[in-house]
Symmetry: C2
Subunit: 225 residues, 2 copies
Amino acid sequence: MNNYYSSNPRFYVGIDCIIFGFLEGELSLLLLQRDFEPARGEWSLMGGFVQEDESVDDAAKRVLAELTGLDKVYMEQVGAFGDVQRDPGGRVVSVAYYALINIDEYDRELVRQHNAYWVNIDEVPPLIFDHTEMVRKARALMRQKAATEPIGFNLLPKLFTLSQLQNLYEVIYGEPLDKRNFRKRVAEMNYIEKTDKIDKTGSRRGAALYQFNEKAYREAPKFKI
Amino acid sequence: MNNYYSSNPRFYVGIDCIIFGFLEGELSLLLLQRDFEPARGEWSLMGGFVQEDESVDDAAKRVLAELTGLDKVYMEQVGAFGDVQRDPGGRVVSVAYYALINIDEYDRELVRQHNAYWVNIDEVPPLIFDHTEMVRKARALMRQKAATEPIGFNLLPKLFTLSQLQNLYEVIYGEPLDKRNFRKRVAEMNYIEKTDKIDKTGSRRGAALYQFNEKAYREAPKFKI
DNA sequence: TCAAAAGTGTTAAGTTTACACCCATGA
DNA sequence: TCATGGGTGTAAACTTAACACTTTTGA
């Protein structure tokens, strides 16, 4: 390490994960009730620390995997949070990421071990440190992204009905959408493909199951719901 | 420091500033030709390191002030850059910020001392480390923000003509705008106020000078250019 | 008198919104 | 047979885009 750099202080670099899931028609976050200090017993985001041999992005993936058992998850950086006093346990600069996970696939046992629970996005309890602000920023960023890129499919099973998809976007935007206008727009996106499968669990009549074709999207990447 | 935290490594936390200016009708960045190691002689963003007693945001303001002499500048965080090998001089997690400065107000002597120069945004030379990626992200973020919030005024003098304003948005968006449509939209924003002053430097006829009224904007914050 | 930038409205095209009924099925 | 969610089209309102000429004045 050269002289110029080594005159500067060093910091713990933390990771915090805002983990979105779409559960029973509601947008939820996976939150921990901390069983360790500081702030034992309070609610927080899943977190961890960047290690020497990993990038910050890789650390975020690792921390998410520690809680959910999942890899190859859609994640996006929310930003760095660096107030001097943000963590009473010590000076930590933390980088927040949001993740969109498929609620059917995560490891429930790991989640139980971490004392983590799904909480409706509109009923998030007070969180430690600046985690509430991280959630607010993550939600705004996710909403914005979801409007212009097809990231919502990460929250759904591979096959989904149009009612599920509409429901998802309604909870992301926090407002109802018109069914006919919604379906009109979906019909224009050729990469949202109708399959010949029918979902019979949601209604007597049954609803057509659709899938997102990522390759087709890359060829005609127009998206706006 | 408690035991849990201290088992983790610590890192230098750097700051890099993408400094936008609007100079002679062009969008430019203030770049340094480094006169220190590593990468002496190459082009880079203005940077520095977070210190013990300052937040990351405050460090960014300090680093910007070191180069420009300015405070109270519009700055926004671009994100944290944390690849293991991003800086060959050592492991540094860097947080990038963009700044919008008024080209008439910065301290030219400080800039000279730092060996910094204004470079057209479309003619940015290869930059060290991941600075090119930082610039790319900052530009996309700034463009996006400029479309929905009135941040462009930070790049203009207090009094400006509509031609200057249109020119600014043309270089931000990288595309020409229709003069009549542009002026129609400006006319709808009551917080962009016509003054009784005339600019005679840009044309024989003279152009009305306008000002941005921030208080009026906060009362009716509709913006879209 | 003319070059150069300032200033000014209208129309067509495209997009978005609002809206209500029939269908298929299992219980 | 009926309750439930699935599925379908049109018209009005609004927004955006395209477009060309007159004004002023200093050199």
